[in-house]
Assembly symmetry: C2
Homo-oligomer: 353 residues x 2
């Protein structure tokens, strides 16, 4: 930590060296194991780190919303996969306008979604790459069977402005072997239909180091690994020491000997829970538990009567789920050794569409 004054609270602090070490470690792992890395920007929402990941070897980036991709394209990013069914005329018009400037890819898990892409891109100068999203256990989106995947891949391949890019999945947390068996089965079925998937893209920080295995997975899209959080540490991904983001808060009340209240509530930490107790890890008081949040208050049980922390004292909280934090604040503060904290606007924050 630096001797420069810290920003007023609540504020989001990012240890840049830790974040960049997390990026570099993942890239080295991907290089060693022969799969490409396409980091998801949802966790940081900052062009700065998107570019940094590409400098380290990432082949492109992953966004979830057109609005995020627009911000990243404006900042100079040129190869963006949006892992979402893009539905409706207004979004398709924006998608087309953006694809006319850079190289996009998208996903589809229904004929209706592909019809939308086909209509919007029939006269596109360069085809839109479309992945078939396949469920591999996460119980979210995705086709359920190889037959469905083949049917959608055929529909994509037959559409003039589209190109069948391969298989995309968001795997369940836990055992990485199970989804990979399904991906291999899907790839076999597609290959037998003459539609061998050029790319098989999976994602998620929890399996980043235990999976993925080329060539079943040729591209991987982790997001949370850049900052990490209590939830990821619970999944066995590194330690609390690797967590690059914390929320700086002020103790605003000491109503009782055991209770302290900080100015970081659900508007600063979000209500997401994880396996560890409470609503975040307090670096300076590791045994204390943030027992409840209201919007602007975090209530802490110190476990026993204690003089400290005093009213006005600063504490840092490692959040349960870090991605959502980047959507709650307008800026993060970059901390670098020996330098004053630098405010970085979270440019892709709030891009809900």
């Amino acid at each position: 930590m630096t001797q420069h004054p810290l920003p007023d609270t609540p504020a989001v602090l990012v240890d840049v060296a830790k974040a960049e070490a997390n990026l570099a470690r993942a890239q080295a792992h991907a290089d060693k194991h022969g799969f490409a890395l396409r980091p998801h920007i949802k966790t940081h929402k900052l062009p700065y780190f998107a570019k940094k990941a590409e400098e380290l070897g990432a082949i492109g980036i992953n966004c979830q919303k057109i609005g995020e991709a627009e911000v990243m394209a404006d900042a100079g990013l040129r190869d963006i996969l949006i892992t979402y069914n893009i539905i409706g005329e207004r979004k398709l018009a924006r998608l087309r306008a953006l694809h006319d400037r850079i190289t996009l890819a998208v996903v589809a898990d229904s004929a209706a979604t592909i019809e939308g892409y086909a209509g919007a891109f029939t006269d596109s100068a360069h085809p839109l790459r479309v992945f078939v999203e396949c469920e591999t256990g996460a119980q979210r989106c995705g086709v359920q069977t190889p037959d469905e995947a083949v049917a959608l891949a055929r529909q994509i391949a037959a559409a003039p402005g589209l190109y069948f890019a391969g298989i995309m999945t968001y795997p369940p947390k836990g055992d990485p072997a199970a989804p990979e068996a399904l991906l291999a089965e899907l790839a076999r079925a597609l290959g037998e239909a003459g539609l061998a998937p050029p790319t098989i893209t999976s994602g998620g920080t929890p399996s980043l180091y235990s999976g993925p295995h080329a060539p079943t997975v040729t591209e991987y899209r982790p997001g949370t690994y850049i900052y990490s959080d209590r939830m990821q540490v619970g999944f066995g991904h590194g330690t609390l020491e690797d967590c690059a983001l914390s929320v700086l808060a002020t103790v605003v009340s000491r109503p009782t000997g055991r209770r302290a209240v900080i100015d970081a509530g659900s508007k600063a930490l979000a209500a997401d829970t994880c396996a560890a107790p409470g609503h975040g890890h307090i670096v300076e008081y590791p045994d204390a538990i943030i027992t409840s949040l209201s919007e602007e208050h975090g209530v802490i049980d110190l476990g026993q009567d204690s003089e400290t922390p005093r009213v006005g004292e600063l504490v840092r909280v490692i959040p349960n789920h870090v991605c959502i934090i980047s959507n709650l604040f307008d800026e993060v503060w970059f901390l670098r050794d020996g330098q004053a904290p630098e405010a970085m606007p979270i440019e892709a924050r709030g891009k809900v569409r």
Copy 2:
């Protein structure tokens, strides 16, 4: 609902007639029962509704952050209670600058907080009104005993730039009688010390219609009542029909006969839970359950195989906890009979300091 085109999804819709009916009903109740209304703006974060509440008879507004109060002052609001311990030089300087323009009040539950106010306001042209925050069961902030309240009230009354404004509490949800007994006891103790509280201010939508009782409570600060939500309906506050805010979402995937996925996840609905099952009430499919949220996906269990909703269909979701929604979006869309939806920027969104 109107025939005009709806905004692209996800989007926050506000039925203005319902919101204004909720405001008017509360004001009529307060008028009838002889207590003043000072609505909390946290739920809407819009100068429009702050002014509307004052037009209907509110004596001022309640904010939680200086940043919120600054937005409201810029929009013309002139009497603002910030129900928070304001700590630290930077915030105290902003508080003083704002109080030089309008009339503020704040709270304190420690000698340290009052020392901060006293230092910043010693030469103020008009004194800063300071309430003693008292705990009445919510286990958040507030002094614990009448003796502590008397000591802090004395400290405030003795400071040149401060004025002892009375007692403030945020009561626990549930039985409104218990906190009122404590408030009466506190008022008695203060009166006996020659420091009878000019104002006794309580708050919270859950007890708005079952409490509060003048003169034990002279001012009440409800927030959520303007929009209401599933949580408030669970507390017995009106019905789902009274809920003025909903999140418009598009069905983006139908992976199975029973499962649908919408483009509203925790970034649009927040992860807050309530007594009712799932992550929000779907107006068009009241028996369906939003079983899980990731940031951009809401996963719905339809309960049985169903052709509808189809990919591309719009649904409206009444959130579990509405206040947090106003912090997630940059704008809400006002719906008025026969008029096109009007985008209203959420001017006090993200004012974390």
